[in-house]
Symmetry: none
Subunit: 412 residues, 2 copies
């Protein structure tokens, strides 16, 4: 049976850059494999959500996987939590958190706690399952992520995602009081819980052994937890059930892994995947080829993050070079038989903007019986004259399922 691969090069698309003679990094890069893919496939431009809408990586992937981000997405927290292995359930309220440093006057002196790297698991262990006075029925789930990052999940009745952040965003200020963002009793209750949580985290962590050692070494202690990026875990139908597929997700960042996880996909961890331009693309390639050639999966979602990172950093040369490296990965995937291979990006991250924009992204589909068009290179501008014209992220799975002859007829 023919398989489907959707490969999303995060933030790869861009705007014309003067230093590249008004070409984009993807236009300027030497990408023989991507260009061959364009030549052998059907091409177009894609609006991840709709024209002009600035998609996040999360909302774009949600859309491409066939879910409506306006229904499913309330914030980043749930996906970050799921991405690091917290078993979230629909209705949970989840937050991203920072391990931060607070002084005796209650002022945040370092939002990243000296960019702490070690000991966070022990610290998290002291916070996880914490009971909060007056809210003993609410389950507190807390887990460390990479570096100074962590996630908090609140589980119980009567909670809401309509609450503000506690992170003051700048050092030198106290934690922001969490306030309810609507008039519901649920929001009021959740805000109270969070304020208690922040206060209690300081009490629990102030004299924590890990922090005592850090202070001895002259490092900033991770003595307070600051939640932000709230979201309610959505009730999404399983991706496999929805499309009748056995699916896997090969992603680098917790955010995209979390989307795969919440959609019920198998996560394939890749050794050496950093999410940066230094990531181990060889290792990623091996994982992809192995999953695609095996019998366990008939759909694989791939996200490679480095181009987006370079875009956010405004690093033109690094973005261009990383795209050239990814081209080799594309070349290996092209060697796999009996697949529909879709290559695209989740949004543009122009070097000039250093953030996502709503410019459309190129997309190509290669596989059996494709209506091959005249496009011969893979980039933002060549793509628009291809046979797909202009589609949306939400069209991708429908088109793929149809090509794979796995979709139901609507009508007679």
């Amino acid at each position: 049976m023919v398989k489907g691969i959707v490969m999303i090069i995060d933030g790869m698309a861009d705007r014309p850059i003067k230093d590249l003679e008004y070409r984009t990094p993807l236009e300027a890069a030497d990408t023989p494999n991507m260009d061959k893919l364009a030549e052998m496939g059907i091409n177009g431009i894609m609006d991840p959500i709709k024209p002009g809408i600035r998609a996040g990586s999360d909302t774009s992937h949600i859309s491409i996987l066939g879910y409506d981000p306006y229904e499913v997405y309330t914030g980043r927290g749930p996906f970050e939590a799921a991405g690091i292995g917290v078993e979230v359930i629909a209705g949970d309220i989840a937050f991203r958190c920072n391990f931060s440093t607070q002084d005796e006057n209650g002022i945040i002196t370092d939002r990243r706690a000296g960019r702490i790297r070690e000991g966070t698991e022990e610290i998290a262990g002291s916070i996880d399952s914490m009971k909060l006075e007056g809210f003993e029925d609410i389950k507190v789930i807390f887990k460390e992520s990479t570096g100074h990052r962590a996630v908090l999940v609140l589980r119980g009745m009567g909670l809401s995602d309509k609450v503000s952040d506690s992170d003051p965003k700048h050092d030198g200020k106290p934690p922001k009081e969490v306030i309810p963002l609507d008039d519901s009793p649920e929001a009021a209750k959740t805000a109270q819980i969070l304020n208690k949580f922040v206060q209690k985290s300081y009490k629990v962590l102030r004299d924590h052994p890990v922090n005592q050692k850090r202070i001895e070494k002259g490092e900033n202690p991770a003595n307070v937890i600051l939640p932000r990026g709230v979201g309610a875990v959505p009730n999404v139908p399983s991706f496999n059930g929805k499309f009748g597929l056995k699916s896997a997700c090969i992603a680098e960042t917790g955010l995209i892994k979390g989307i795969g996880k919440i959609a019920g996909m198998d996560l394939i961890d890749v050794e050496g995947a950093t999410g940066g331009i230094d990531t181990d693309l060889k290792s990623i390639t091996e994982s992809i080829v192995s999953a695609a050639k095996g019998d366990n999966y008939d759909f694989i979602l791939i996200n490679i993050d480095g181009a987006d990172e370079a875009g956010h950093d405004g690093e033109m040369e690094e973005k261009l070079k990383f795209i050239e490296k990814v081209d080799a990965v594309v070349g290996e995937i092209m060697k796999i038989d009996d697949i529909y291979f879709i290559l695209t990006a989740d949004h543009s991250t122009p070097i000039s903007v250093m953030d996502h924009t709503g410019d459309p992204v190129p997309i190509v589909i290669k596989g059996p019986e494709i209506r091959v068009d005249n496009v011969k290179s893979f980039n933002e501008r060549a793509a628009h004259s291809g046979g797909l014209c202009r589609i949306r992220g939400s069209d991708v799975m429908n088109i793929l399922m149809d090509l794979m002859n796995r979709s139901k007829k609507f009508g007679a």
Copy 2:
């Protein structure tokens, strides 16, 4: 900060015409500036509402400004009223009206009252604030527009826009009885009010001094008011608030001015703007350039109406020549620095149809960091191979806001 200009040449698009060797007027016209704009920009075709839908100028502009015309638009009355300076509020029921001539037997002998031009302000003064027996709580606002045209606004509780016209559309008939168009008590009440209004207008105006003089001069008196084009004033969020812009509207007709006004835009009046092919394009150009170069506005909506008028009149040569004149205006706008300049039409008004059709219109966007495409002339057919492919009116503001780096990211 970079500014945005959306210039809409009303009804400019057309269908191929045999007498033009199967070219459209826009294809046949000599438009070096528009063609240069196409060459420097990104091009596409646009469906003002959606493919095949015959848009009005009003519904198209509403859509392009980012509102849903299916939600916002119930009829032309509210926009005509706002366009001539009546301060309408959401919930008002507004009508276009004719000053007409009624004989002693109650027959309309001249729907346009001898195309009256003078004295309408005094006549309107006698109608404005009229009290209607049994409906003393309903405020009657009445104001003259140009020529034989006027507007009526009803304000109060329990009104509806589900009522018929009183205009019989042909001379030689009595005013049509206004009937409710649904079963609601509000529609019944509003129909009663309108019938009373028409009757009372005749009583008040029959012996009005302006009409006595007209009769003396052998002119048809404006002795009855016939409302039509009912609409409920919509509750629309302010355009400036919605997009975070300081906006101005430079339009010729009351209808488009009214849309700008109801959206909360500043209206810039232009001396000599007639809405016809005889309009003062030099004066319009000066207003545009002055507004675009000043500090008061970062968004300007422009509507120029002559091509639509020529289209409705079936005047091919005049339409073509007017487009050539507008080309000079485009040339002046292109000289302004630091703008995103969007040129399009609100619908097609083909010479052969003499009315609007649902054919898509060309659109071009020029400005910083645009993904310039290979299109080198601005017209209905060249446009479709451009980088925008096919978009909708409702995409325009999203795309512009994204290019201006003024839109919020949805997601992370």
